[in-house]
C-alpha cells in the first residue's frame, strides 16, 4: 500500500502480471542465504496464495525460521527476491512491510500492559485514538482476553501470552501473518485447543498465514498447503493428502509418517496404458502408475505406507492386481489398536506392516518366523527419486 517509498520500486515488473499475480501474496524467487561460508538456504522459491494457511514443516535447523525472517524483513537474503503482493520488498526493513510476525518467544513488551501491547502497532501508524481503542477491544474479545487487558505480560500464562502476541499482530490487519512455532512452548492439550482457535481465526479473517512448525500433526491438521523443508530447500509442497499419499522424495516419505521404500529396476516398456513394472532385489515384479515415475531415468525407488499393506499366509490368494512380495515375519508386535509386523524378504528387504486388529486373538495373526506374502494395491504405490539418493 502506501508504506512503500518510491525509491525501492525496481525497474523490474512484478513477476507474473495478470490474474495469477492477484492471487499470489508471498513469493520468494531463488532465494539464497549464507552465514559466513555456511549456506543455510540454497535456491528456495515458493509462492503462497492469498488467504492460504501455509505451513513450513521441517526438522530442526533446516532453515524454517530463516525463511520466515526473510519474509518478515529481519534477514536480508544473500541473493534472490522477496515479493509481497507482487512488489519487490527484498530491501525493505520490517516496519515497511505489510506483514506481522508472531515470534516464537512472543516478545511481548514487558513495560506495557496487554492492552498497550496490542495497541502498539496501531499507535505507531497513527490510527485514530477512538478507532484504536475499538479495534484493540474487539481483538482482545476475539482471543478471549478482555478480562486481562490491564495486566503486564509478566503476569500471564504461556497460552495467554501467546494469544496476546497473536492479537498484537492481527489487530493491524496485516496482509499476511508469519508465525514461528507459536505453539511450541505449550503443553499438548493447550496446543490442540489453540490450534483450533488459530485455524478458526484464520478462516474468519481470511488473511494469509505462514506457520512454521516441526510438528507434522499440527501442520496436517491446520494447513491448506504444507511445504516440507530439508537442508535449506523445499522438498515438496502440497496438501496434507498430496504429501502423505504421494510423497515425491524419500525424505518426505519418512518425515510425514513412515514408508516402506523399495529400490526397483524398471522395465523399459510399460505394462499397459496405466502401469509400468520393475523388479526388486528378489527379482519379484512390482507395478506402479507410469505417470508417477515420469522424469526418472535408471533405477527408481517405490514406496508404500505400512497401513496399506496386508499379510497373507502362503496358501492364501492375495487380491488380483496387488503387488506381492514374499518374506518371513521377523517381528510381530501387538499394540491393541493395531498389529505391527516386520517382514524380511530373501534379498534382505525389510517391510513394515500395520494391520488393524480385527481378529481379537492371537490365533489369526502371524508369528515370528512364519513365511508370508506381503501385498498391496498397486495404485497405492508411490515413486520417489532414484535408488541412490537419500538411501
Amino acid at each position: 500500500m502506501t508504506t512503500v517509498p518510491e525509491s525501492t520500486e525496481t525497474s523490474r515488473p512484478p513477476a507474473a502480471a495478470g490474474d495469477a499475480a492477484e492471487q499470489r501474496d508471498i513469493c520468494l524467487e531463488h532465494v539464497h542465504k549464507r552465514y559466513g561460508d555456511q549456506t543455510v538456504i540454497g535456491d528456495l522459491s515458493l509462492d503462497i496464495e492469498q488467504g492460504r494457511f501455509y505451513a513450513l514443516l521441517g526438522p530442526s535447523g533446516c532453515g524454517k525460521t530463516t525463511t520466515l525472517r526473510m519474509i518478515g524483513g529481519f534477514e536480508l537474503p544473500t541473493s534472490g527476491t522477496v515479493r509481497l503482493a507482487g512488489q519487490d520488498v527484498t530491501q525493505l526493513p520490517p516496519h515497511k512491510r505489510e506483514v506481522n510476525t508472531v515470534f516464537q518467544s512472543y516478545a511481548l513488551f514487558p513495560h506495557l500492559s496487554v492492552e498497550k501491547n496490542v495497541a502498539f502497532g496501531l499507535e505507531r501508524r497513527k490510527v485514530d485514538k477512538h478507532e484504536t481503542k475499538k479495534r484493540v477491544a474487539e481483538m482482545l474479545e476475539t482471543v478471549q482476553l478482555s478480562h486481562l487487558a490491564k495486566r503486564k505480560p509478566g503476569q500471564l500464562s504461556g497460552g495467554q501470552a501467546q494469544r496476546v502476541a497473536l492479537a498484537r499482530a492481527l489487530v493491524n490487519k496485516p496482509r499476511a501473518l508469519l508465525l514461528d512455532e507459536p505453539l511450541g512452548a505449550l503443553d499438548l492439550r493447550l496446543r490442540r485447543q489453540l490450534q483450533d482457535q488459530l485455524k478458526q481465526i484464520q478462516r474468519d479473517i481470511g488473511i494469509t498465514f505462514v506457520h512454521v512448525t516441526h510438528d507434522q500433526e499440527e501442520a496436517m491438521s491446520m494447513a491448506d498447503t504444507i511445504a516440507v523443508m530439508n537442508g535449506g530447500a523445499i522438498e515438496q509442497q502440497g496438501s496434507a493428502e498430496d504429501l502423505y499419499e504421494r510423497p515425491e522424495t524419500s525424505f518426505v516419505a519418512n518425515f510425514l509418517g513412515t514408508s516402506n521404500l523399495i529400490d526397483v529396476t524398471p522395465e523399459s516398456a510399460p505394462v499397459d496404458h496405466e502401469f509400468s513394472r520393475g523388479t526388486t532385489v528378489d527379482l519379484e515384479p512390482v507395478r506402479y502408475l507410469t505417470h508417477r515415475a515420469e522424469g526418472y531415468a535408471g533405477p527408481i525407488r517405490i514406496g508404500v505406507r505400512p497401513e496399506k499393506v496386508r499379510l497373507y499366509a502362503t496358501d492364501q490368494e492375495p487380491p488380483e492386481g496387488d503387488n506381492v512380495l514374499h518374506g518371513k515375519v521377523v517381528q510381530s508386535t501387538f499394540l491393541g489398536v493395531t498389529l505391527q509386523y516386520l517382514v524380511r524378504t530373501a534379498g534382505g528387504l525389510e517391510l513394515n506392516v500395520v494391520e488393524p486388529n480385527l481378529v481379537g486373538n492371537s490365533a489369526g495373526t502371524f508369528g515370528a518366523g512364519q513365511d508370508v506374502q506381503v501385498a498391496w494395491d498397486a495404485r497405492q504405490t508411490f515413486v520417489v527419486e532414484g535408488g541412490s539418493a537419500g538411501a
Partner: protein
C-alpha cells in the same frame, strides 16, 4: 511452631546478619552523629548534649549558598555524565561485540588510580598556561584572558570525570539485559529504529538511568576533592564546609548538622525524582 510458620520466619533468619550489620555500621554512627549535632560548646572546653536545634538553623542560614552550589554542580555533573554515558553504554551493549569486556575494563580503569591523584593530574593538565586551556580559549569555552582552573566549570568537569563509571555501568547492565527480540518485535510493528529506541529501549533502560543518576548525584553532592583541587574559594561545596568544620575548626555539631541537612535534602530529592521517573509512571508515559 507449625511448618508454615517456620517457613515464614525463614527469610528473617537469612536477613539477620544483614540486619546486624546495618545496626552496627549504619544505625550506630548515625545516632551518634545525631547526638553530636545537637550538642553545644566549643573546641577548647568540649561539647555536651544540650538538644540545641539552633545549630541546624544557623547551618542553613550560613551555608545555603554552598548547599545550592553543591546541588547545582552535582546536578550538572549528573546530566553531563548521562549524556556521555548513555551512548557509551549503548555502544558497549550493542555494538562492541566481543570487545565488550575490554570496553568495560577501560571504563573502570581510572578507578585503579586514587581519585586524588587523578584529580591532581587534571590540575596540571588544566593549568593556565597549558595547551588544553589555550585550545579552550581558541574555541571560546574560556575567555581569551580567562582561566579554566578554579572555576565552577572545572569543578563540574572534575566531578563528571570522576563519577562517569557509576553512570555507565548500571545503564550498560540494563541495556545489555534487554531482549533483542523486543526490538525486532517493535520494528515488526511499524517502528523505525529511532521509534523502537524511544518506545522500547529507552523505557526499559529507565531503572539503569535511575540507578546511575543516584550513584553519581549522591556522592557528588558531598564531594570535596574536586572543589579543593580544581576549584577556588568561590566554588566551595558543602562537602568542603563539612570537611573544614570537622577537621580544621573542630566544630563537630555544625559538621554533623550540615551532613544531616544534606542527607535530608537528598532523600527528599530522590523521593521526588523516583516519583517523576518512577518505573510505573514513566512506562505509562512511554506507552
Amino acid at each position: 511452631m507449625s511448618l508454615s510458620r517456620r517457613r515464614k520466619m525463614l527469610p528473617w533468619w537469612f536477613a539477620l546478619p544483614g540486619l546486624l550489620w546495618l545496626i552496627v555500621f549504619f544505625a550506630v554512627p548515625i545516632l551518634n552523629q545525631v547526638s553530636v549535632s545537637l550538642m553545644s560548646g566549643d573546641p577548647e572546653k568540649g561539647y555536651e548534649l544540650t538538644w540545641s536545634f539552633a545549630t541546624y538553623w544557623d547551618a542553613i542560614r550560613d551555608y545555603h549558598a554552598q548547599f545550592t552550589r553543591s546541588f547545582g554542580y552535582a546536578g550538572a555533573a549528573t546530566l553531563i555524565d548521562f549524556v556521555i554515558a548513555f551512548p557509551l553504554a549503548y555502544f558497549i551493549a550493542y555494538k562492541a561485540g566481543r570487545f565488550k569486556g575490554l570496553w568495560l575494563l577501560l571504563v573502570i580503569l581510572p578507578f585503579f588510580v586514587s581519585q586524588v591523584m587523578r584529580t591532581a593530574s587534571w590540575q596540571l593538565i588544566l593549568n593556565d598556561q597549558g595547551w588544553l586551556v589555550a585550545r579552550m580559549q581558541d574555541v571560546g569555552i574560556v575567555a581569551d584572558d580567562g582561566r579554566f582552573l578554579a572555576t565552577g566549570k572545572a569543578v563540574i568537569f572534575g566531578i563528571s570525570y570522576n563519577f562517569l563509571p557509576f553512570m555507565v555501568l548500571p545503564i550498560y547492565a540494563t541495556l545489555d539485559r534487554i531482549d533483542r527480540r523486543l526490538i525486532e518485535a517493535a520494528s515488526d510493528l511499524y517502528c523505525s529504529r529511532w521509534t523502537a529506541f524511544r518506545k522500547v529501549t529507552l523505557p526499559l533502560a529507565v531503572p539503569g538511568i535511575f540507578a546511575g543518576s543516584l550513584l553519581v548525584f549522591i556522592p557528588a553532592c558531598g564531594d570535596y576533592i574536586n572543589s579543593s583541587i580544581l576549584g577556588s574559594s568561590n566554588t566551595t561545596m558543602i562537602g568542603n564546609v563539612i570537611q573544614s568544620k570537622f577537621l580544621n575548626i573542630l566544630d563537630y555539631p555544625t559538621a554533623a548538622a550540615l551532613s544531616f541537612i544534606l542527607m535530608g535534602v537528598i532523600l527528599l530529592g530522590i523521593a521526588i525524582y523516583g516519583r517523576v521517573l518512577g518505573t510505573k509512571n514513566l512506562t505509562e508515559l512511554a506507552g
